[in-house]
Amino acid sequence: MHFKARVGEKLADRILQENLAKAKPKFVDSRAKVMLELDDIEATREAAKQIRNRSLENLDLWLETFESKATEAGAQVHYARDSQEICKLVVDIARRHGVRKITKSKSMVTEEAGLNRALEAAGIQPVETDLGEYILQINDNEPPSHIIAPVFHKSKEEISDLFARTHNTPRKTDINELTREAREQLRPHFLSSDMGISGGNFIIAETGSVAIVTNEGNGRLCTTLPKVHVVITGIEKAIATLDDLSTLLRLLPRSATGQAITNYVSVLTGTKRPDEFDGPEHLYFILVDNGRADLIGSEFQDMLRCIRCGACMNHCPVYQTIGGHAYGWVYPGPMGSVLTPLYQGLENALDLPHAATLCNQCGVVCPVKIPLPELLRKLREKQVERGLRPLSERIALRAWAWVARRPALYALGTKIGVRYLKWLASGKDRIKVLGVAPAWTQGRDFPAPQGETFRELYARGQRDCAR
């Protein structure tokens, strides 16, 4: 379905609209409050930006350093160019170790890859263990609508019905009880799975470690109990040192959920040591390209700083109005509107760069200072350069710009234009239906112009004008 049609559907979805209205202030208010704990918010954001830039500017070398450290610690490092290679690597690893069930901690890269479908096709059972992702999986593999709050779009009543139906249990309406029910359903899976898959918030060159940030503890279970652990993450997630991690952790949970720190931060290095009671015997890293490498050195490199906190979507007036599903791919909101065309092809997401007011609320909350509106605008420029905009739009824009460079013609055009609009208003202060911009007047009136242009009045020596 086309983005525009999905938007219409989402605006008309009353339950979604109620859910969005309820969820909106929670992330925004809690972030604002907890950011104030930092003495110097701007200096911290700037430091985080520099840390991410430092990685990206020498990404090849940092990856090599990471790889040698991780290998030294007993991990195996693989690379995947695209979704197909990710899926093949995971299925191969699973087969090598005779894996039948996999517990998964949240990973957006596996969403990019459609990994669960590939695993099922290979006869391996993936179990999503993040509460939100679990809810989506049992709801017929519904896609997430938010990168850190996958069921942002759902009410607890919908989840109550889903649990009662799927678990065959009495319907519960208390969120505590729903959460306990999911815990009880999932605990046996943790204990019986042969392999855990996690994402990686960062990979650390200094030590060859992966850092995983979670609240529920499912990430720890997936990476502690099964005998095989596979980390799947983007190549851009490399950072230099543990101290860099400490700085980024002052911003990631604050920006994401309004927490000073998440409940769990796990820094995992290598495999189970000989005298340990627990831990995986095999650790694999799958470092994913999927479009990332091509952004290095490009005018979109800044986007690779992204640490996937979701603050941009939480603060986006468009996201707040339509939710995440309308965006059509894995990543919604401003970061998604930049990433989707870059990873999926400019021509496959023509709407997204335009689906923004460029209000820059995203840019000012971004913990790594990604100039999101600027990147969206650059994508619009690419569309124009490649002739991807509709002909009518191109003609209108060109004609307007041509006239705007010719003051006399422009003066005549605007003179006629405002008189036409004034006439349309037929003596009232507003226009109810505007033929040249029907999309405006579907949901709003268009205020009538005063009737003459400023320049006309000024040229006549007028210093004031009546309504």
Partner: protein
């Protein structure tokens, strides 16, 4: 000081009163105001639509019209932001054009910012508003130019007016230029949230510094059946023309 008034294309067409209010405010602040007769548009619609060549042409046109002025004042955070924050990106860093545009950008001010930080005006002799006001921080003015305290300082000098802050005053109204017609439905839905916040403030009028947002907010309030809440440009209030 010689101040060039760039009224903006929207004010020129839709509400000349804002332009005249700005003119009076600048003159009563002691400025010698020039209004280049050939001015049209700053190029922002082209820039935001991805048409860089058209934007460059319009930027050079504006440069030619205003380069001789000590300052350029704009009754819009959006157009002011375009000139101040984006003109510098249009040409190669070391080019002659870039150098001249940078110099112009540095002398370009949003109206409130200019009155408070450059003209440093003390009083607003003509300002008079009986009632309560709430101020909407339009996005570009706020986030590109740091226009936040300035309008509030000025509104504090308006005899008879009391400022009531609304919830989410810094949230976008949903206008977004071409966005408002490309995604009219989303734009109107965002505007509705903004209008509810305006209404909940209980103010008699919402005041702001950008005509695009004014058209959006006024249009939505009226469609919602609100005939009572007035939507005013801050220049109109400060110049005492709100009751015109």
């Amino acid at each position: 000081m010689r101040v060039g008034l760039f009224v903006t294309c929207l004010v020129d067409m839709m509400r000349p009163r804002i332009g005249f209010s700005t003119l009076e405010l600048l003159e009563s602040a002691g400025c010698e105001v020039v209004v280049p007769a050939t001015q049209t548009c700053c190029g922002q619609p082209a820039w935001n639509s991805g048409d860089a060549p058209a934007t460059r042409a319009l930027a050079l046109k504006l440069l030619a019209e205003f380069e001789a002025c000590d300052y350029v004042v704009v009754p819009s955070g959006s157009c002011g932001g375009m000139i101040r924050s984006h003109y510098g990106e249009l040409f190669a860093r070391d080019s002659e054009e870039s150098r001249r545009l940078d110099a112009l950008s540095a002398r370009t001010y949003e109206l409130c910012d200019f009155l408070v930080n450059v003209a440093r005006i003390d009083a607003l002799p003509n300002a008079d508003f009986r009632g309560t006001l709430t101020y909407h921080d339009s996005c570009s003015g706020l986030r590109e130019l740091g226009v936040k305290a300035q309008p509030r300082v000025l509104l504090g000098k308006v005899g008879g007016a009391a400022l009531l802050e609304m919830n989410g005053c810094e949230e976008c109204c949903g206008f977004g230029g071409t966005f408002s017609v490309k995604y009219g439905d989303v734009s109107a839905a965002i505007a509705e949230r903004k209008c509810r916040n305006i209404q909940s403030s209980g103010a008699d009028a919402v005041v702001l510094g950008d005509l695009g947002c004014i058209l959006n907010i006024e249009g939505k309030l009226r469609r919602m059946g609100d005939e009572k809440t007035r939507v005013l440009h801050i220049a109109e209030v400060l110049a005492g023309k709100a009751d015109a």
